[in-house]
Symmetry: C2
Subunit: 246 residues, 2 copies
DNA sequence: CGAGAAGTTGAAGCGTGTCAAATGCAGTGG
DNA sequence: CCACTGCATTTGACACGCTTCAACTTCTCG
């Protein structure tokens, strides 16, 4: 079994044995665990490390002074939070856990070492960053243009897709620890309306969602309801020019 | 007068004479002009260069199949579009001009040269990228949580702030080439509602906006209406550890 | 078994969208 | 110089998607 960081980056670039070795070391070095519903880092704090999620779900969120809360990104196992954000002086948002989470801290020094000595790994990290930015743009589109049912359907498609790539689905099923309140914060809808929207999707025989498990009954139709097109996830893996030869 | 790319990057990092020299060359090498309301690159195409905006306004936008359109970012003079996006196979969005625009194309080779030989410049480019991603997150918050008048006020504050940093304001005034339709696409509102919202801001003596010129009558109050806080623009310039000594 | 969290339901209100028409403004050609 | 054209802005009336509030039910877990 590959270590998770190698697995993640090989989505983008084929790595050499030494590449894998250095990643395996990095991802097993400093491990931290967090309980569900706690903050890993808060707005205003100074970021120290890059976080690699080994297990569990987390989110990036921003809050307005009056308490309104927007989840601006969701992190699944294998995701990397805030590559090189330590260039900035302070966090402009917080990162909190949804479930219990295990992370590997990747140090500034490690990343510097990658940058200078492991170009393919650096490329893969770049790629991962660009994908997460692309997802951010798609969320902007989601919030700005899609209706409630489109938003929810789109988000479910995206998450299922990303989980599948991470090997965290069984057939059409996956763990789904988000509460309706979480979905509301991520889609910019009220809890009540998320509830009604989910009922609509259930009534249309598109999904089953109960006991923290999601089943997609008809991905095609769900994708069409959510106007979902996976292009923005950039999973093409056609970067053969970057592949290792050894 | 500094060349514009040096000016931009010195927002973040103090550069050496050689740093400036190489940037001056890069930003004067391949220059292209585009008319207003044309596309620089379209969704699905393969990106070739990074674009540095010498003059004019442009935007990044995404469209749904049925025509709904979301502006996900605005580019002002001095902004850089899509740093290193050429790692990806194809554009997941389009970039179009608002006004006539002049860009300098920065080649892949130039950026590679920077990465290996000009670490402070590379850091500054990184910083610029991280800021643009931070802006993207703030827009997500804007669309997800703020009301119509908050959204518009917030956007006006952000643009005025960015223009000021770029030296493109005179006192409380600036050129403002966005139409109400553009504002609608950027804020996820309808044109009609943007119109009413602007009237509200005008009635409250917060702004004057006519003949493509914006005047901010009371920035403090406009910022408070829009729940605007400039932190996310990361203009602190405290990265002294990165400054050049020569 | 009890208590708090998560989910569900109904009713009412409002913020924003939609539609349609009028006005203003700038550029173009006769 | 004026009519013509087209785009941007403005206005009014109405519709509706979503929010809010409040109560109730169902889960979860110590």
């Amino acid at each position: 079994m590959l270590d998770p960081l190698t697995r993640k980056l090989e989505q983008f670039v084929r790595l050499s044995v030494t590449d894998r070795h250095v990643l395996g070391l990095a991802a097993s070095h400093r491990i931290r665990k967090f309980a569900a519903r706690t903050d890993i880092i808060r707005e205003g704090e100074q970021p120290r490390d890059v976080h690699f999620i080994l297990s569990g779900w987390a989110c990036r969120y921003k809050q307005l002074e009056d308490g309104r809360r927007q989840v601006v990104a969701l992190f699944l196992p294998g995701d990397i939070c805030d590559l090189n954000v330590f260039i900035l002086q302070q966090m402009d948002h917080s990162i909190g856990t949804i479930t219990a989470v295990t992370i590997a801290d990747l140090s500034r020094e490690f990343l510097e070492q990658i940058r200078t000595g492991y170009p393919r790994v650096a490329t893969a990290l770049w790629w991962e960053t660009l994908v997460s930015v692309s997802i951010q743009r798609e969320w902007t589109l989601n919030l700005g243009q899609r209706t409630a049912s489109e938003r929810v359907a789109h988000l479910l498609c995206e998450l299922f897709f990303r989980l599948r790539v991470a090997g965290l689905t069984q057939d059409a099923n996956c763990d789904f620890p988000l509460t309706q309140a979480d979905l509301a914060d991520a889609t910019g809808l009220s809890k009540v309306h998320v509830n009604r929207t989910l009922q609509e999707l259930r009534a249309d025989k598109l999904i089953v969602l109960r006991e923290r498990t999601l089943s997609i009954l008809d991905f095609e139709r769900l994708a069409s309801v959510g106007l979902f097109n996976a292009h923005y996830l950039h999973l093409e893996h056609e970067g053969h020019q970057f592949d290792a030869n050894d």
